[in-house]
């Protein structure tokens, strides 16, 4: 079993006052272990909706989703939580750090939910923070560091449980191009260590970092290749 993600005939409708509103219409995607996928597409095409389903934060209306061999639709709340905790690392556009906690505590938080003792938690958190280049800011708080640094902290948090898969929804959306480049280099490094990455972006030069480009349009995948013709197309 070498596929991290297998998605088949995935549908997602949102219930609105006007009735069911289809957002994903028959999406199919297979991501092999170690793959590095950039998802692009216009606003409202369903990218975030898709990522949330991949991240086990939301359930599809229909279709099949296998995450690391697990049939996600069969799993209960606790099992999904465990997948989010151990198998997936989530990186958000808005960083989503806990403002009241130190960087060390922020990064160590997933380990609290895996039942790791405090000393190990802190040791491990220090390790990953050092890895993303923030070894000197262990006891700072999120509002004391820059946006780029905050995103590094979020990546460190995503890494702490040694996940198979990192899902990043517009991770550089709030950052300038120089900082974005640094963050992408961090992702490149993680991918070369064997972690599968799926990220959403609107920028071509960000997407170029990935091995594979997927394009969403109106809830469907309209392009999927390891070359980079998608970049050449008019966005």
């Amino acid at each position: 079993m070498s596929n991290v993600i297998e998605v088949r005939h995935l549908y997602k409708n949102y219930q609105t006052a006007a009735g069911a509103f289809p957002v994903l219409k028959d999406v199919n995607l297979i991501v092999e272990r170690g793959d590095y996928v950039a998802i692009m597409g216009p606003s409202g095409s369903g990218k975030s909706t898709f990522m949330n389903i991949l991240g086990c934060l939301d359930r599809p209306t229909a279709g099949e989703y296998l995450l690391d061999g697990h049939q996600v639709s069969l799993l209960g709340g606790n099992a999904l939580a465990q997948l989010r905790n151990k198998t997936i690392g989530f990186v958000f556009q808005g960083f989503n750090l806990l403002a009241r906690s130190t960087l060390l505590d922020n990064v160590a938080l997933p380990l609290v939910y895996s039942g790791v003792d405090k000393r190990t938690r802190h040791e491990k958190a220090e390790q990953v923070l050092t890895k993303v280049g923030l070894g000197g800011y262990l006891n700072s708080r999120p509002n004391q560091i820059s946006g780029g640094q905050q995103q590094r902290v979020a990546i460190a948090r995503a890494l702490i449980n040694d996940p198979r898969l990192i899902l990043a929804d517009e991770p550089t959306g709030n950052l300038d191009s120089k900082t974005s480049e640094e963050i992408m280099q961090l992702f490149d490094g993680l991918n070369s260590e064997g972690i599968s990455i799926v990220l959403v972006t609107h920028e071509h030069d960000i997407a170029e970092h990935a091995k594979r480009q997927v394009r969403f349009l109106d809830g469907k995948i309209v392009h999927d290749s390891y070359a980079q013709p998608a970049v050449m197309e008019v966005n």
Binding site: G77, A81, R84, L97, P110
Partner: protein, 407 residues
Amino acid sequence: MFTAMLGEAWHAMGANRMRTFLTMLGMMIGVGAVVMMMAIGEGAQQSIKKSISSMGSNLFIVLSGPPNTAGARSATGNALSLNVKDADAIAELDGIAAVAPVTMGSAQVIYAGNNWNTAVIGTMPSYMEIRDWVIDNGYVFSNSDIRSATRVALIGKTTADNLFGDDTDPVGKTIRIKQSPFIIVGVLNPKGQSLDGRDQDDTIIVPLTTAQRKLFGNQLPGTVRMILVQAESDKAMPQAEEDINSLLRQRHNIREGSDSDFSVRNLTAIANTAAETTRTMALLLGAIASISLLVGGIGIMNIMLVSVTERTREIGIRMAIGARERDILLQFLLEAFVISIVGCVIGILIGVGGAMLVKNFAGTDTVVTTESITLAFAVAASVGIFFGFYPARKAARLNPIEALRYQ
């Protein structure tokens, strides 16, 4: 995991100190009120119990005068209907352990220029046994003192203190009661308050005959104000009461259908009623105080609901990185729990302090029992969990995506 959560709860409380304090204040007041009210109730119950046990057990009191006139009447010139022979006759009945005829009145007592007005009791030595009253110093007068009407007296602690002060030993001293000299032969062991709040130690006990002849001479010879009767057991009391009634009616030639010229009261029953009343009062106090505990609990629920709304995004983040429903539930439950427990501990201190103040300034007995503290603790913990549960469940049931999107 649990300690990490506890730390987080502490952290969250510290983030909003004023709010946490105000929430706790509700709890503190509730717990403080419960502890204090229970202390007052318990104090009242204990002093009642003490009065009851100082009274003696299985007691009847037979009073001169028809049943509808309450209590022993003052000397209005009415002839007293009971006499010593009635007492002797009652003593012959089955199920009666002891009998003591009693006559009494207030009198001015003088010793070396000290003046004191006290209750003088004229009775037999059996009175001391019935009331389970012992002598600290000296001896009780005997039946031969009764026969020869000697001028001897037993003195209560309060009276002794007022006449003699702390330094002088009253035994052997001569006092004047209504101008007649009496030698003190014994000092009574202190008994404290009676059920009706009188100081039982403010008294002098003299032989019945001496009292009748030398002190209360205006009464008919041999008559007494009341007869104290002790039944052999609790079980013997109902039958004894009936027997005393019919015996005295017969002796006093009272025809069928007309009122008695005496009344028999079951003191033990009266005491039990008093104890029951006090218990009810204590319960009522506790119940009223519990209402404030409830209000405190609602305060916790209110604040926890606000907290859950404010921290919706945080909850979403936690869920996204692997928190299970029960982790979130536990986090908020623990927070409510910690608030209520800390509030409770401070509330207990307030309650104990309040009880001490009441004792010192109002003079009411207050007793803080470990049970009341345990109870307050248990109730506060349950209140925390009960009122924390709904907000915590609300947090745990949040949809992770919506929570993450919440601004």
